[in-house]
């Protein structure tokens, strides 16, 4: 104990305020203010252990260090009097690997986690393996898609912008990459990566690790791009077109591949199709840019563009739709799917400001409402005396709301049109700008502003909250258009805005239920008395 010193960090030098440092002389000790380590003891669980105390005597001049070796007694009645277990009170040194015990040590410590008693866990893992055998055959999200020889390649830029051919495509990971490849007309037949065969050569395995079921990659369409950039779709697309040199040009060079993989919900791939863009290069071209894309569709479904899964992602358009025709009552809504615009950017839109700011001239351009982005736009309306009220009101309403203003907004980014209860109805409010209420409202009320307020909340777990829309309110503000004397005209601003407000309530902790003590006395416990 007298030789142990925790604060002695510098070798052959005196550490400051370290009273147990053997490198310090008496002169050094006189400069210390306190002792950073006042006592060094053995294990305090023992009934009596040796201890070395270090203290500074500041009364003396100069201050000197006092070292005392004492026996410290643990007064508790539960102190350890003796142990017969050698490793109890010290850390065990690990085994040094040798050639004999290397395999056993690897089995014990070679995985991501291990416990102090490895034998008790071995039985569990053996029992689980047979049932897992079925599970490992399915493709899971992110697993590289296997082909007969290696993986389905999706060349992508690594570090620099040059293509690397060893990037595997992950299952259900929709990717689009662009990279540069160096080519030349003389070698165009020899470079594998610019020929169609390279991309459709090997078949994809339908299930992981099983070579029995293979899916051939079919050529879906071929688009030929000429030297000046014009693209034409070829009619017969089942012919393999390999690069060949023609009139000092190398044609049928692959400029882009787009894979479409169809999968089932059991994790199997059943179809694979590739669409090519072929081009031509001439002698001056030294490198071309290739673009690759892969997308996955579940069998028997049409791909629905999602705005988040499940919560809305900031920047993706809000999904909205209508009640189908002929279902006026809410009760019957539950049996019918909503009707959505096929273009996901046109489902909920607001007016788009134009450079000339004239409302009536710029009809028709609208901008989609993206989740999380507050927007405001507007235009100026010039009213002349001969404009009639009713058509003006109608025009302005069309301008503000657009041709097809939806009735329902999806609460989650992946809400399906069939689940009507997942959709939030849009509430419409009308307010009037005039504070003073005239008893006759016979004058013309024209809408001047549309404000859409989308209230959303954070839904789900605290570490991964998902955005969910709970309320959408569209407020139309109207103002009175006074009748103008003839010849005069007035300009009024028309504003439309979208505001996203976060109305999440604070997170609540969710605990597991307390374990209950299920102790019941037997029926005849109090036999003689009951």
């Amino acid at each position: 104990v007298a030789k142990l010193c925790v604060c002695d960090l510098l070798v052959a030098q005196c550490d400051v305020n370290c009273c147990c440092d053997p490198d310090c002389s008496a002169a050094d000790f006189s400069l210390f203010t306190t002792c950073s380590v006042p006592i060094v003891t053995g294990d305090s669980h023992l009934c009596s252990q040796k201890a070395a105390t270090y203290s500074l005597d500041v009364e003396a001049d100069p201050p000197e260090r006092i070292v005392k070796l004492i026996d410290q007694v643990n007064p508790s009645v539960f102190c350890i009097h003796a142990t017969n277990y050698k490793q109890a009170l010290s850390f065990s040194s690990p085994e040094i690997p040798t050639s004999e015990n290397f395999d056993q040590l690897l089995k014990q410590f070679g995985s991501a986690s291990f416990s102090a008693e490895p034998d008790s866990w071995n039985m569990n893992t053996d029992a689980q393996n047979p049932s897992d055998a079925n599970e490992t055959c399915r493709y899971k999200y992110g697993v590289p898609i296997q082909t007969v020889d290696a993986f389905l390649r999706l060349p992508s830029p690594v570090v620099s912008s040059w293509c690397s051919d060893v990037n595997p495509a992950g299952f259900l990971v929709n990717q689009a990459t662009k990279c540069t490849r160096s080519v030349s007309v003389e070698k165009c037949g020899n470079i594998q990566a610019v020929s169609m065969l390279f991309y459709i050569n090997s078949s994809i395995l339908a299930k992981l690790y099983e070579f029995v079921f293979q899916v051939n990659i079919t050529v879906q369409s071929i688009v030929v791009q000429s030297l000046n950039g014009m693209r034409t779709l070829l009619n017969g697309s089942d012919v393999l077109r390999l690069p060949l040199i023609l009139d000092e040009l190398c044609i049928n060079i692959v400029l882009g591949v787009s894979y479409h993989i169809t999968y089932t919900d059991a994790g199997e791939i059943i179809e694979a199709a590739a669409s090519f863009v072929l081009g031509a290069i001439n002698k001056e071209v030294l490198s071309i840019q290739q673009s690759f894309e892969i997308s996955f569709t579940q069998v028997n479904t049409k791909p629905v563009p999602l705005s988040g899964n499940p919560g809305y992602v900031v920047g993706l358009p809000i999904r909205a739709g209508f009640r189908p025709q002929g279902y006026p009552f809410h009760v019957e809504i539950l049996f019918a799917a909503l009707v959505l615009n096929t273009n996901k950017y046109s489902q909920l839109t607001i007016l788009q400001s134009t450079s000339n700011q004239d409302c009536l001239a710029a009809q028709g351009t609208r901008t989609p409402i993206l989740f999380g982005y507050n927007m405001i736009s507007g235009c100026k309306l010039r009213i002349t005396a001969d404009m009639k009220c009713q058509p003006l009101t109608q025009t302005l309403l069309d301008l503000l709301k657009g041709q097809s203003f939806p009735e329902y907004v999806a609460s989650f980014g992946n809400s399906q049109a069939q689940d009507v209860l997942d959709w939030v109805p849009i509430t419409h409010l009308h307010t009037s700008e005039q504070r003073i209420y005239n008893t006759f409202q016979s004058s013309c009320q024209i809408p001047v502003s549309l404000e859409i307020e989308v209230k959303w909340t954070k839904y789900g777990s605290l570490v991964n909250p998902q955005a969910r829309i709970v309320n959408v309110t569209a407020t139309i503000t109207t103002t009175t258009a006074k009748q103008l004397p003839s010849g005069r005209e007035r300009t009024i601003p028309i504003i439309s805005s979208v505001v996203f407000t976060d109305s999440s309530s604070p997170a609540e902790p969710g605990y597991k239920a307390w374990p209950t003590i299920n102790a019941k006395l037997p029926f005849d416990f109090f036999f003689p008395f009951v």
Partner: protein, 129 residues
């Protein structure tokens, strides 16, 4: 005549042993939580504690019966079982995995009781023969 001090000692021994058993069991549980107590060391300690309890019950039964019926055979059997109990008590005093100060105290008291009982039993056997 039956030996009254011996009978008193049997009675006190019974109460004290119940206390000893519960305290030792509680302390083994405490040791297994606070210190590192692998299963290889915990199992023998617990097994020996339960064996000691069984032996103690038998010992007190035979001793009490022999004393009250004034027969030397059960008393002799009880004396033999006492030897086993003494060995077990020494195990818990010296060879246990963790010997705490409390262990030392209660085992010492138990050994003292055993010693006193053995002396009184020998005297009783001598009186009955």
């Amino acid at each position: 005549l039956s030996s009254v001090p011996l009978q008193i000692l049997f009675y006190v021994n019974g109460i004290y042993y119940t206390f000893y058993f519960l305290v030792t069991l509680a302390m083994i549980v405490y040791k297994s939580q606070v210190f590192s107590y692998p299963d290889d060391f915990l199992a023998p300690d617990l097994a020996l504690l339960f064996i000691m309890a069984i032996l103690e019950v038998l010992r007190l039964y035979f001793g009490s019966k022999g004393n009250l019926t004034e027969e030397e055979a059960p008393l002799g059997l009880s004396l033999v079982i006492t030897v086993g109990s003494v060995i077990l008590s020494v195990y818990f005093l010296v060879w246990q995995t963790y010997v705490l100060k409390a262990d030392v105290i209660i085992n010492a008291v138990l050994l003292f009781t055993y010693g006193l009982e053995s002396v009184l039993k020998v005297i009783a056997i001598a009186a009955f023969v």
